[in-house]
């Protein structure tokens, strides 16, 4: 039993999760029943009491089955009695806590979080090792400094962020709510954080809702409340919620003692914001509760004077809090690659340490006889009189210690500062991306958003872009364009000039003038037809068509004031932009929906205000692909209006209709969708009284059932939606966003493959493909739409054969497509639909599909479900190394966005779900081009260089230490002071690389936009690969040799002391690595100059300060050695000798094997000069050559 209940409830949940085209809340039938009952009794229809009786027995039967489920698995809330709530579960109060830390837990928790990074453990282990007296290489303070510094920087950053969260938590928790006091029966003001589950709260208009509450009563007599969910899902339109009729009658409060109030059983808290399941027991009656009966924290009450509700989920259990997961954490590819090189460096580190340890052992072995007396070793400690060894316990132990000590000394081979530098650099890059005026969207007033801070550089390596269509490529601002009524096409509004049908339908309403907010261009012929009072069959159908458009929807008309006090606008609020477009279209043709209450709608038909009672409404669902409404008009006829997708509608039409009309309609539909219009077919049927009664009882039954409600309702709907007259079809234009074709062309040139994944029909998808220049006439289209695995296989094999045939012409089409050479001979486009994908994804055919798809230039997937979108992304992601990017705007794109390496949300019309799941969010599709081609390119280039440079920089230093160790009897002495060793990577050389990582630009924005092909350098991993790493490391070894051996040989057999030579080495290496950086900087800003040269000066100052401390052995050494000529000669020699190979190779490579980027840089620079100077330049060049 419990098991059954569970499966059913899960099923229900899945239903709720489907976001439908027109999701009218699935509940709220009770008030509707009331209105229908009143309408029915007025009209002499059967007494609804009968219906109610039936439904109640049904309810109780089902409810009893749910009781077991409820007891074990649900939350029990006693209305008005917070203390009585379920004791089995700890229910939090309504205070929220987004802050991670408290002052007490900050230190341990923050440290714990930070040490989850493996490299930090490594550094910690080294610090701990260094604390052992036998191994103490550095002083205790010095050894802990780098780690402490890094931890501190991160901790300060975290603490600041957390403080801000604390502050907002505090404000949020201390907001005022009015809570019903059970004793007095009055609503008292309480703070939000004190509200508890079970308490009854009252919320007034425009107030925020403090917790998730089940509605008990609203100011509206029918129990409707309007809420705005912009904070929850970003949708700005109003949504309707309903209070149950049972509680509506007597809201808890002064008149009603709360102890007689009921009990609510509901699901345990979960994060599904579109689902809620529960029931309420009031006066022994059980009523079911659905998502339409609950208002969620974070929403705002609108257009409703007040509501009273009972808190069911509070604080951290509210759906908004459960959904507020942070930005997704992804790891950039560069960082993954970097780990490979880190491992290599670890291997080098271990090799160095082993060399030192083994040599140490050999040395000890060779000198074992000498060491007792050698003054510098003196194995024995005589101070206690007895003959014990000092700090020496056999060669084996010494070797072991030497190994550990060398790990400590050479630890910075793994650059600790790199991690913190990368974070800072990404922060800087994000700053510039967010501030970029080119990524600002005027229409939505939104900036670029960087939600994930650790994959900036991935933007420079994208090879596949998976794009949603609606709302991403297109604006998702629907505009009604054509109508086909009885097979006659009325597209006049589309073609004719604007002034023709521009006139608004203006309605006089008392003192005011009402007009729809948006007008649609109308077809003059159709207007004429409608005005002629529908005497003809065509005219009648046309009227019915627009009546259907006006009433078969879930639009809520809102009257909005304008600046002109005499004029008011009707704003159609609805969740589906298609429906809004249709409603505005109907209004423009004179069928103005003016008012919607729960039971009726008022439509102004060509000047006559008429009331239609809404008796029933079947929501849109993805199985039926249609919605329907049953209305009772002023002439007491009961009509069923249905609208839906063409293939679902033509299946349920009346058989004996005029076939030619159907064919004409189909032809029109085809024409519309080839224009890229979204089509809907509208039909109707008049219901006889008997049919209506049958339907009504079935509808009531289904409606009140607790489980499988959705399924039952669907069955009822399917049952009544049959034998329709087709009234006509509509064509709605989904406008392309600005700049989409250009953006797609740029990306194509950049070697990025754009795949479009859409839920639309094939024809629509293809036509959009053409209009955004994704598809061209020259392309060979491979269309796969099959209904079985077998036919899919055949189709795919044909496709493979085809591309093989072409492959003979151009040997490797895949490779060629990437490099952009030789693939233009044959370009192919794959068009595949969702049904075929069902048979292909997750089967053996996947491999075939992958081959075909990657060989094609363009892939269009139509009719795909959200999960299939993710499946296609992972098809590429799992088989190639290529980076994928998914861009979308709706909830159906979330899975795709999360699957792809980079997810981008369009902050547009369809809500914020996609944005919440994305890594980056922006206003327009076309911003993808500057984002990838400019910022992505820069970020990748900067980050790649920074990582390599950090590896190089630390390796040079470590090798210098290593060479010196070879001359200290392998005992890990460092000539460079321990403080300099520690400060080297965090102070002496850190800032320039960060500045360069944030600011440097290899190419100007203009050039990058002009030559999208330059983007391919990122796809080819040109800036960071094993070869570059190896070269850099070789350079590092050479530079360390130069740095170490030039002073070594110059000062051999001299009186120089260790500290002086150490100072020379540290200054030389710092200057050298900074000069190395300087030769690689592309653009010198004044900030770069300050950072690079300032860092060298800062190093000198630090060295001087260290040498002014008299307790250190190096006291005054820097002054002594700086006074000698040899020091300066060594310094100069080191820098020149160290830089020679790097400089020569760089010059040679840039000249002989210039990369595209190099040539573009030269163009960048030399194009700027005017022709005259150019000529002089070239002349000079040629004279020089001569």
């Amino acid at each position: 039993m419990v098991g059954d209940g569970l499966t059913i409830s899960r099923e229900e949940e899945e239903e709720e999760e489907e976001r439908s085209l027109a999701p009218l809340p699935s509940s709220g039938r009770h008030h509707r029943r009331k209105s229908s009952a009143s309408a029915a009794s007025r009209d002499g229809f059967p007494n609804p009491a009968h219906v109610r009786h039936l439904s109640r027995t049904e309810t109780e039967r089902l409810a009893s089955s749910q009781r077991e489920l409820a007891d074990s698995n649900s939350r029990i809330v006693f209305i008005g009695d917070p203390g009585g709530s379920d004791p089995r579960f700890e229910i939090p109060r309504n205070s929220i806590r987004t802050a991670k830390y408290s002052p007490i837990t900050f230190l341990p928790r923050n440290l714990f979080e930070q040490f989850r990074r493996l490299s930090y453990i490594y550094f910690l282990a080294i610090v701990i090792l260094n604390q052992l007296p036998q191994l103490a290489v550095f002083g205790r303070g010095a050894s802990a400094l780098p780690l402490a510094f890094v931890l501190l920087v991160t901790a300060v950053k975290d603490a600041y962020e957390d403080w801000r969260r604390h502050r907002s938590d505090r404000i949020e928790n201390n907001r005022a709510a009015s809570v019903l006091d059970p004793q007095s029966g009055r609503f008292l003001s309480k703070r939000w954080k004190e509200a508890r589950v079970g308490e009854v709260l009252k919320v007034l208009a425009n107030e925020s809702i403090p917790c998730d509450m089940v509605l008990l009563a609203t100011s509206d007599p029918t129990g409707v409340a309007y809420i705005q969910t912009i904070n929850l899902d970003g949708e700005s339109n109003l949504k309707t919620r309903y209070a149950k009729q049972e509680t509506m009658a007597r809201p808890p409060g002064e008149d009603h003692p709360v102890d007689s109030a009921g009990v609510i059983r509901c699901e345990q808290p979960n994060r599904n914001i579109y689902g809620f399941l529960g029931n309420m027991e009031v006066d022994g009656k059980r009523v079911s509760l659905g998502p339409a009966n609950i208002i969620l924290r974070g929403c705002e009450l609108k257009n409703t004077a007040w509501v009273i509700g009972v808190a069911v989920y509070t604080g951290s259990e509210t759906k908004v809090m459960l959904n507020s997961s942070g930005a997704p954490s992804k790891r950039s590819r560069l960082e993954t690659r970097m780990n490979r090189e880190t491992l290599l460096l670890s291997a080098i580190l271990i090799a160095l340490c082993s060399v030192v340890a083994i040599c140490n052992g050999i040395w000890l072995g060779n000198h074992s006889d000498d060491l007792e007396l050698a003054q510098f070793f003196r194995k024995r400690d005589y101070s206690d009189g007895d003959d014990k060894k000092y700090n020496y316990s056999g060669i084996g132990t010494q070797v072991f210690f030497a190994f550990l000590m060398s790990v400590i000394v050479f630890q910075i081979m793994i650059p600790i500062s790199l991690y913190i530098s990368m974070e800072l650099v990404r922060l800087g890059q994000a700053y510039f991306m967010v501030r970029d005026a080119n990524l600002y969207d005027e229409s939505s007033n939104s900036r670029f958003q960087c939600r994930a801070l650790n994959i900036n550089e991935d933007l420079g390596q994208i090879k596949y872009v998976f794009s949603d269509k609606t709302g991403t490529l297109t604006e998702n601002k629907m505009e009604f364009q054509c109508a086909s009524i009885r097979g006659v096409d009325y597209s006049g509004g589309r073609v004719s000039s604007r002034d023709n049908g521009e006139a608004h339908y203006i309605l006089a309403a008392g003192k005011h003038i009402l007009k729809p907010k948006m007008s649609v261009k109308t077809d003059p012929e159709l207007v004429r037809l409608l005005k002629n009072k529908g005497d003809t069959e065509q005219g009648k159908r046309a009227r019915e068509f627009f009546l259907a458009l006006a009433c078969c929807n879930t639009i809520v008309p809102l009257v909005v004031d304008t600046s002109d006090p005499k004029q008011k606008l009707i704003d159609y609020q609805g969740e589906s932009p298609d429906e809004q477009a249709l409603a505005y279209a109907a209004a423009s043709y004179g069928f103005v929906l003016i008012e919607r209450t729960s039971g009726h709608i008022i439509i102004d038909i060509l000047g006559n205000r008429q009331r239609y009672d809404v008796l029933g409404l079947h929501e849109f669902d993805s199985d039926r692909k249609r919605m329907s409404v049953i209305v009772c008009g002023p002439d007491k006829t009961i009509n069923l209006f249905v609208k839906g997708a063409d293939n679902s509608m033509f299946g349920i039409i009346q058989n004996k209709v005029d076939l030619s009309m159907i064919d004409a309609t189909k032809a029109n539909l085809h024409a519309y969708s080839s224009l890229g219009l979204r089509t809907l077919v509208v039909g109707m049927r008049e219901l006889s009284r008997k049919e209506f009664e049958e339907w009504q009882s079935a509808y009531e039954n289904a409606n009140t059932s607790l489980m499988g409600r959705g399924k039952l309702l669907r069955a009822v709907a399917s049952n009544v939606e049959r034998e329709l007259h087709i009234l006509g079809a509509s064509g709605i234009e989904d406008k392309l966003q600005e700049g989409v074709p250009e953006a797609i062309e740029s990306m194509r040139q950049a070697g990025i493959k754009v795949w479009v994944l859409t839920g639309d029909k094939q024809e629509t998808a293809i036509s959009i493909g053409f209009s955004c220049k994704l598809l061209t006439e020259a392309m060979t289209q491979i269309v796969i739409n099959c209904n079985s695995e077998e036919s899919c296989r055949n189709k795919l094999q044909d496709a493979v054969a085809m591309y093989r045939k072409f492959a003979v012409i151009s040997p490797d089409p895949f490779e060629n497509a990437l490099t952009g050479t030789g693939s233009t001979k044959v370009s192919m486009a794959l068009i595949i639909d969702g049904i075929s994908l069902v048979y292909i994804l997750k089967t053996k055919l996947e491999e075939e599909l992958f081959k075909v798809a990657t060989a094609c230039d363009v892939v269009l997937c139509c009719r795909v479900a959200p999960l299939q979108k993710a499946g296609i992304v992972s098809l590429i992601k799992s088989r190639t190394e290529d980076m994928t990017l998914a861009i979308g705007d709706g909830a159906n794109d979330v899975s795709m966005i999360q699957t792809a390496d980079v997810g981008i949300g369009i902050s547009g019309q369809e809500g914020r779900q996609a944005v919440m799941a994305s890594d980056f969010a922006m206003g327009q599709f076309r911003f993808l081009v500057p984002l990838l081609l400019v910022h992505g390119h820069w970020n990748y280039q900067r980050m790649a260089y920074m990582i390599l440079y950090n590896f190089y920089r630390n390796a040079v230093f470590v090798f210098i230490l290593f060479w010196y160790v070879l001359y200290t009897a392998y005992t890990l002495t460092t000539a460079i002071t321990e403080w300099s060793t520690v400060l080297y990577s965090i102070v002496y050389t850190a800032l320039p690389t960060i500045v360069v990582g944030v600011l440097d630009k290899d190419l100007s924005r203009k050039t990058l936009m002009k030559y999208p092909q330059l983007y391919r350098s990122g796809q080819r991993d040109e800036r960071y690969n094993l070869k570059l790493f190896t070269l850099t490391m070789m350079d590092a070894v050479w530079q360390s040799v130069a740095t170490f051996y030039i002073p070594y040989l110059a000062y051999r057999q001299s009186t120089v002391d260790g500290s002086s030579l150490g100072d020379l080495w540290i200054l030389a290496v710092v200057i050298l690595v900074n000069i190395h950086l300087a030769t690689d900087v592309f653009r010198w800003y004044w900030i770069t100059h300050v950072a690079v040269w300032g860092c060298i000066v800062a190093t000198l100052i630090c060295v001087i300060i260290i040498d002014c401390i008299w307790t250190l052995p190096g006291y005054w050494a820097i002054f002594k050695i700086m006074g000698t000529g040899l020091f300066w000669l060594c310094l100069l020699g080191v820098i020149v000798a160290g830089m020679l190979p790097h400089f020569s190779v760089k010059a040679l490579k840039e000249y002989l094997m210039p990369s595209d980027i190099q040539i573009a840089r030269e163009m960048d620079k030399f194009r700027r000069m005017n022709a005259a100077t150019m000529e002089i330049q070239m002349n000079r060049f040629s004279t020089l050559q001569l």
Binding site: D369, A437, S446, T824, G1058, G1133, L1184
Partner: protein, 348 residues
């Protein structure tokens, strides 16, 4: 240099959109990453200029350095082998450790060239790891400076205290191993005075070694490592100790012994009486006596000159090589036809 940079965004930038609550990012050259910048490119002219310039600078310096090194006259005499009796290492060690054997050793040096004063006298030790980790840490700087901290011997292991527990001053292996060979020079019958004042760093005498700190319990232990110190002279005047305690960077090193403030003429014979006390035989270390004049570059060392000449020569060579490369394979800089997608006419 980057004057036209603003043009890219001027269309959107200079219209300040007075809308309320606009999120439009404020335009500034910084936030739009359009700060004026210098964009260096390694043009052939630049490369050749740089190499030539380096060559032009380095070759003369190299010549000057070599000349300076050649002017330095240096006499190096290894005396550890001649001043000992015994063939095996053990015999040598036994000889040097025996307090009763005569350590006096007389050698003669011939001046190869005229040497102008001051002539620096150094002793050079080979294979002596003054940078050994055990050794280099075994000191306490506070004790040397401050008379109040005479008992502070932390870090001085294994030469902290005498067997009876009294603290050693100066403690530690470095001080304990103080070099104790002595040299006296004469030409014919005339003694050459060696000035041992001022051989150490002034900063060390003034700030690192206290003038009221006197040696105590020094070299009283079971084993003597080297020289004893006069307990009535403050550390700040014990210049041999100060010199010794500035530990050498490398295992072969010289330490100043003194200055001969007198010119020596070519072929003059110097007699040196060496008191060969210091035990380097136990670890096969060499001892050398060095007399040397100095130049602006310090002592005799041809390396710097040779290195500069090499680098300078190499740069001239590279300059030539690059010129050849530029002539043989001329390439117009910034020519779009070199772009990879333009090289293949079949590309996009």
């Amino acid at each position: 240099m980057n004057n036209s940079a603003a043009s890219t965004s001027s269309g959107s930038g200079d219209v300040p959109a007075p809308r309320r609550n606009s999120n439009r990012p404020k335009y500034s050259r910084f936030t739009q990453q359009e700060l004026p910048a210098c964009k260096p490119i390694l043009t052939p002219r630049w490369v050749i200029t740089v190499f030539t310039l380096i060559g032009v600078i380095f070759v003369p310096i190299g010549v000057a350095a070599l000349m300076a090194s050649n002017k330095v006259v240096e006499i190096v005499y290894r005396y550890d082998a001649v001043c000992i009796h015994g063939n095996t290492k053990d015999e040598k060690v036994a000889y040097i450790q025996n307090a009763n054997t005569s350590k006096t050793c007389i050698i003669t040096l011939t001046v190869p060239k005229d040497m102008d004063q001051p002539i620096y006298v150094y002793y050079q030790l080979d294979n002596f790891y003054q940078n050994h980790r055990r050794y280099v840490k075994s000191r306490n700087d506070a004790q040397l400076k401050d008379s109040d901290k005479a008992n502070d011997t932390s870090g001085c292991d294994p030469e902290k205290t005498t067997p009876d527990g009294s603290p050693i001053l100066p403690c530690g292996l470095i001080a304990w191993s103080l070099f104790n060979d002595t040299y006296s020079f004469s030409i014919g019958n005339q003694n050459l005075t060696v000035n041992k004042v001022g051989i150490s760093w002034k900063s060390d005498r003034d700030h690192k070694f206290g003038d009221n700190v006197f040696p105590r319990n020094f070299q009283n232990g079971t084993m003597k490592g080297g020289a004893s110190l006069n307990e009535s002279i403050p550390l700040s005047q014990q210049e041999d100790l100060i010199v010794w305690m500035r530990t050498a960077a490398l295992p072969t090193f010289r330490k100043p012994y003194g200055k001969i403030e007198q010119n020596l003429r070519v072929n003059e014979t110097i007699t040196v009486i060496i008191q060969n006390y210091y035990n380097t035989y136990s670890f096969s270390g060499k001892k050398k006596l060095v007399l040397s004049t100095s130049s602006w570059l310090g002592g005799k060392n041809d390396f710097t000159g040779i290195a500069y000449l090499t680098i300078g020569g190499l740069c001239f060579f590279l300059a030539t090589a690059f010129t050849v490369v530029y002539l043989v394979k001329p390439r117009k800089l910034g020519d779009p036809s070199y772009l990879s997608w333009n090289r293949n006419p079949s590309g996009h």
